[in-house]
Amino acid sequence: MQGLLAWVPLLPLIGFLILVGIPLFYRREPPESVITVIGVGSVGIAALFTAVATAAVFWQTPSGVVNIALWQWMQLGELKLGINFHVDWLTLVMLMIVTGVGFLIHLYSAGYMRKDPDFRRYFAYLNLFIFAMLTLVMADNLVLLYLGWEGVGLCSYLLIGFWYKDPVNGTAACKAFIVTRIGDTAMAIGLFLLFYEFSTLNIPELINAAGDPGADREIITIATLLLLGGAVGKSAQLPLQTWLPDAMAGPTPVSALIHAATMVTAGVYLIARMHPLYTLSETAMTAVAIVGALTLLLAGFSAIAQSDIKRVLAYSTISQIGYMFLALGVGAWSGAIFHLMTHAFFKALLFLSAGSVILSLHHEQNIFRMGGLYRKIPFTFLCFTIGCASLAALPLTSGFYSKDQILLRAWEFHQGFNSLWLAGVLGALITGIYTFRVLFLVFAGSEGAASRHCKDANTPAMTIPLAILAILALLGGLLTPPLQAVFGTTAERHPAAWVEGVAIAMPLIGLGVAWQLYRREKKTGEQRSRVTQFWFSGWGFDWLYDHLLVRPFNMLARLNHNDMIDALYKGTAAFSRQLNTLLSASQNGQVRWYLATFAAGSILFLALLVAL
């Protein structure tokens, strides 16, 4: 059974290698069907293996841990690292999300990307992504995790810039990679610090060592904050959130898979995985919570002001991950992972439905040019609505369960009313607003400019995943993952009923506000006040970074284009040439001058004789 789990990441890798290696053996491009079979099939089998392994091993023993040692990676002094996998329930949840949702999105992609000239490249990247993501979640040491971490970053980069001919896509891709790399570097430094302190990077050993009472709390705080740096980069949290909205330049299934369901939640996974270290540091926990709270509000407001359907979803993703961070910050570990899971379901559903909309509208993404689509693409409408309901956490949807857990835990953690809880509740309201605003604008009312040419583009390859995801988004709340073995159990305490009531009421209020907003915006069209414009631009972070970092750096690079140190040597050379000219002037060919220099030299020497 362990072997089966080892095959889970390997299968997508094999798929990737086959897809990439095809030109070595065949001159012509293989048909799409073959590519689909390889690309989707490999992930499908991986999903199957995961399911089998889950059923066979873990179902009975929720506390079970499977360690798979593949081979020794490096062993240098105390640095002992293996290519080893560590599978527990936390990993398993992630595995199921990655392979399961991943498989569905792969399947959907086969329909969505049909007839794209780079079909093969697309699936190669996707498979590579799945492999990297699986490595990330299965790694038993932080360096292997980092391998997956960077690997998913690379795939994200490649897929955002998949349609490379448009330079805008490329810029967005670069931005995504570099911004996350900043976080990654912080994380790498965190790794160095952890190794420096504990002489190991193996996660279980690390957790053991940190648990030792003699462990230096200060170092743990710094290290966890540095890891948080990595997490905020990858999960697009404040202050490194700016890349995610731009990342929507990639194909929509990619946004669903990478920028909603899996990769961006890696930060949450990381912190959850390292949670024993975080619990040791008050500061780190607070930081995580504050980052989450701030991000969920900021991104929520930005989502309200967007006009691009995918950007709305992108900001909503940032905001929802903010919830997860908030959950982590208040110690609701399983809540965070639960929300991660449900979010994967409904956000994937939303993105895929949005993809259907976009494809049906011939790549129109502006919601103000849509409207009244509920008649033209009813199935998509249905799916999107389910997704919205779940996202807004309407009762009985999956999102409701997970979000509710977070809010309750936030209340509890600080024993009653506190700002984190308030932020969460306010966020729930905002979520309701932007979710239903986009739903109304796209599907309700009269037809928009682009809706007229709408043609249902769904193929079976697309509808099946949509349907499954819709079911999951609705009922996923019932699938509470048994994470107690990983995170330990917390005593269930029920706060006052009104607290629950507020949490339930908020999305409904949001719905109402959204309706008002929809009515107004339908009339005015795409117009923004100064405030909404500010929200629209993502609170000016892009502008700030551009002026604070990008431009100075570019200017510095331009200024130093020719390497100022080289100027030093060029100066020496020029100086030598000057001396040459000067001395050459002494060789003027005049005998009497020569005689004079001879005499002068003699006098000089005699003078030196006296002087010395």
Binding site: N580, L583, S584, V591, L595, T597, F605, L606, L609, L612
Partner: protein
Amino acid sequence: MSTQELFAILPLLLLSAGIVILLLQVSFWRGHRSALATTLITLLLAAGSCFWVGATLSGGVSSVQATGLLLVDHTALFFCLLLLLTATAVSIMGYSYLRLRCNPERNPGSYPEEFYILLLLAMLGTTTLVCASHFATFFLGLELISLALYPMLGFAVTGDLSPAREQAQSLESAIKYLLLSALSTALGLFGIALVYSAGGALDFSGIAALMPELAQTSALFATGITLFLISVAFKLSLVPFHIWTPDVYQGAPTPTTALIATVSKGAVIGFLLRFFNTLDLYGSPVLINLLSIAAIASMLVGNLLALMQTNIKRLLAYSSIAHIGYLVVAFIIGKSTFGTEAVIYYLVAYIITTLGAFAVVGLVADSVEDRILKGEYPESPPSDADNPYHRDFYRGLLWRSPWLASCLAAMLLSLAGIPLTIGFIGKFYIFTAGVEGQLWVLLAAVVIGSALGLFYYLRLLLTMVQRDPTLTAESTGSVQIAVSGQWLLVVLTAILLLFGIFPQLLINWINAL
């Protein structure tokens, strides 16, 4: 004068005899080749006799004092041998040079044989100089060299087949050298006279006996020695007495340039070694400081002057200034056997390399002269690329005449001190000497000088390998040089590589002195 003394100066006697024979031969039977043959035989005989004399010195007697004027020992004989062999090479170069320009059949007024007589005279001067143990012999030897060199420098004037410009330049170099050299001689003589008036002795061992008193007290003596050294520095073209060097080197017929750059300098170095050793002048910090200053200035100024030079002969002249500067570094470290060894090794390296470089330049110019005489080539070069002394002429030479260019490349690499060549071992000796003497300032100057030097050596080297499609000289095709010249170059390059790769051969020999 005993038989032993006469035998000891056998090389000098053979040279004298050769001169007389050559004079007689020329007056009865003129012929360029036969004159060359006599010269070669004389030089080789004299060189061979060095071995013979050296063999007799191997016993208890390590040196023979021939009268009060000459002292023959192993070192002196080694220098004689080295310089005589150098002169052999120069005479071969001279043949190639004179064959074209001083052809009595074309121009009855030209006397190529005179060149060889003068060469032998100069060699008599050098052998006298390296054996000198008295100021009189020093003076005699030095003047013998100078007096022979004046006409040799101006030799192009007599063979009017040379291009007019070359003739004028040759004359100019002769006059310049004469005036400056005369002044330097006068200064040197004045210095000797002061030394004499301070101590009352002119033979070196006599002065050496007086040294303890003189060195401490007499300003007269110090002034005299300094003036004397200035005149020697002039011959060595140490900065600031270097200024004549490029002009004279450039204007002179190339074989004469080679002679003045190698033989005359080598003889002076040989003499200086003995002079400093006998008088133990290394102990005088003032003189050593003066020499150090001159050495540093030579290394820097010489290399800086050469930096942008396009005329090859001038370039080599400047580079020789720098090289003598390097050599002085080894010279300064003093009396130890290592210092002498380093000086001699470096000198051998310098002589072989310089000789080779000038040989290439001369032979290339001769080949052009050949074509001028055949009317294939304009007498006054229309562009730099057609001037055989200009760097541009060498553009792409490696592709046109690979062997010739390879030889020059080897010489240049040796000058730059790159391994596989004798120049590298020489440079290594300089560094070792500098380290042993802890002369860090001087070593720094050597490093800076070498870095500067690389620039112009490499520029010339890389000019030869340029693949320029707009090659103007490509039309001129390959450079055909005389067979004798080819042999000369091959032998020189072979020695250069041999002693570069297996330096121990030469070291053993030097250490046996």
